[in-house]
Amino acid sequence: MFGIKRENHQRMRDNLSAYVDGELTLAIRAGVEGHLEGCAECRVELASLRSLVSLLHQVPEIEPRRSFALSAAPVPSRPGLVLPWALRTAAMATGVVLIAVFSADLVGVLPGDQSGIGVAPVPTTSQATVMLQETPEATGLPELEFAQRDSGEPGLETTSPIAEADEAPPSMAAAADGSTAASLPEAGKGDPVALPTEVSTGQEPAEPLPSPTQLVQFVPEAPLDDALEDASNGYLPAIEGSLAALLAGTGGAYLFLTIRRRRGKGLG
């Protein structure tokens, strides 16, 4: 009963609203006007609607601040692509750097790796010679094995000490496990003091640079070893961690924006 009344009331309201706009058919309009003659409530409603409409007619028109004409260039498929594209590029660049760092880490180029020593901390020839002279007693077994192996390979002596030093950090390789030594079956029975003696004498001007293996021999006990350990324990993991965090963050942001953009594209 009340539902029907409410429905009729709403229908009358709709008709009154359309009546204000002159959007009723002649028949319905006549019916509304007939109702209005006998219904004070609807007359008040009609006056109220007319007031509201007149108020809305005074709403100012917005002046466009710019033209929306399209350029002759191809229309971009979607607004707001700049940021995702930049993020994608950044993610790719970060990934490449990360892969490069891990790869370098694996082959032992970077300092602190257990299979190799870095380029930067390797001392100069003169420094190495001094170290050699100052620590003749550094003759531990692992170092001896490496020294003996390398001393038996003359070709190595012609290469740069730095390049050679990259190959084998005796202390780390030996301390890590036996795998490095096991891969070198020829290593073994050298005289640990022979090489230091040769270098320290320095009697051959034609060969001013000490053998790389001679450098390697004294690295474990030297201050250089501490520097390498520091690099291994702090510097390199920090770089790798930062790069991984950067990659994860960039990738996450790109994923978020992509999902949000696709969700928006499906609407409307």
């Binding site: 109220s48 509201l52 809305l56 007619h57 709403v59 033209s67 004409a69 399209l70 498929s77 594209k265």
Partner: protein
């Protein structure tokens, strides 16, 4: 300078063949209406401009889907969709907070005989109207803006809404009732002699 229906049809056909200049003639013709609708729908002039630009780009790309008829209705439906899209993507709630950036929505010229206080009240009245519009449901908002602000007839609104005349009539009636209730809460802003009350006396 208004465009005749024949001119508009000719520009549409050229634009459908990829003529950007012809399409831009249509843009110039309809951009004022488009940005007014978008800014009122979103309650934000900047977002309204973004939606308008997006709508024109969408319209250009979708021109092949226009099969004739009322180009303006077709375009405004795209504008309404662009507004819907922007509101979703921006996460902006359709509330009625208007900051200084939105003053373009409520700016009214001050008449020479109008005092600064009266002008400020008129500005606040416009701000309150926009707040009230922003509280409406989207379909009601669209109908009310097109009819009461832009002066559209029901038939064209029905084309924009893709609905029948009865639906337009109903949505508009409900929108007006809701907006009236909103404005009655700030009746001190209403001009003297304007009666929004629905109770006699």
């Amino acid at each position: 300078m208004a465009m005749t229906p024949e001119q508009e049809k000719a520009y549409v056909e050229l634009a459908q063949k990829g003529d950007v200049d012809a399409f831009n003639m249509l843009v110039e013709q309809h951009q004022r209406l488009a940005v007014n609708l978008a800014a009122r729908l979103l309650g934000d002039l900047g977002l309204g401009e973004d939606a308008t630009q997006n709508a024109f780009m969408s319209a250009y790309r979708g021109l092949s889907g226009f099969r004739g008829g009322n180009f303006r209705s077709w375009l405004l439906r795209i504008v309404a969709n662009a507004c819907h899209d922007i509101r979703r993507s921006s996460g902006r709630r359709p509330t009625a907070s208007l900051d200084d950036e939105d003053l373009g929505l409520v700016a009214v010229l001050r008449s020479p005989q109008e005092s600064p206080e009266d002008h400020a009240i008129r500005m606040e009245l416009q701000r309150e109207i926009q707040r009230g519009i922003s509280t409406l449901a989207e379909d009601q908002k669209l109908a009310l803006i097109l009819v009461d602000v832009q002066g559209f007839g029901y038939q064209e609104v029905a084309e924009v809404l893709n609905a029948n005349l009865g639906t337009v009539k109903s949505r508009l009636s409900r929108a007006r009732s809701a907006l009236r209730d909103h404005m009655l809460k700030r009746r001190e802003l209403l001009p003297a002699g304007l009666r929004l009350d629905t109770e006699d006396g």
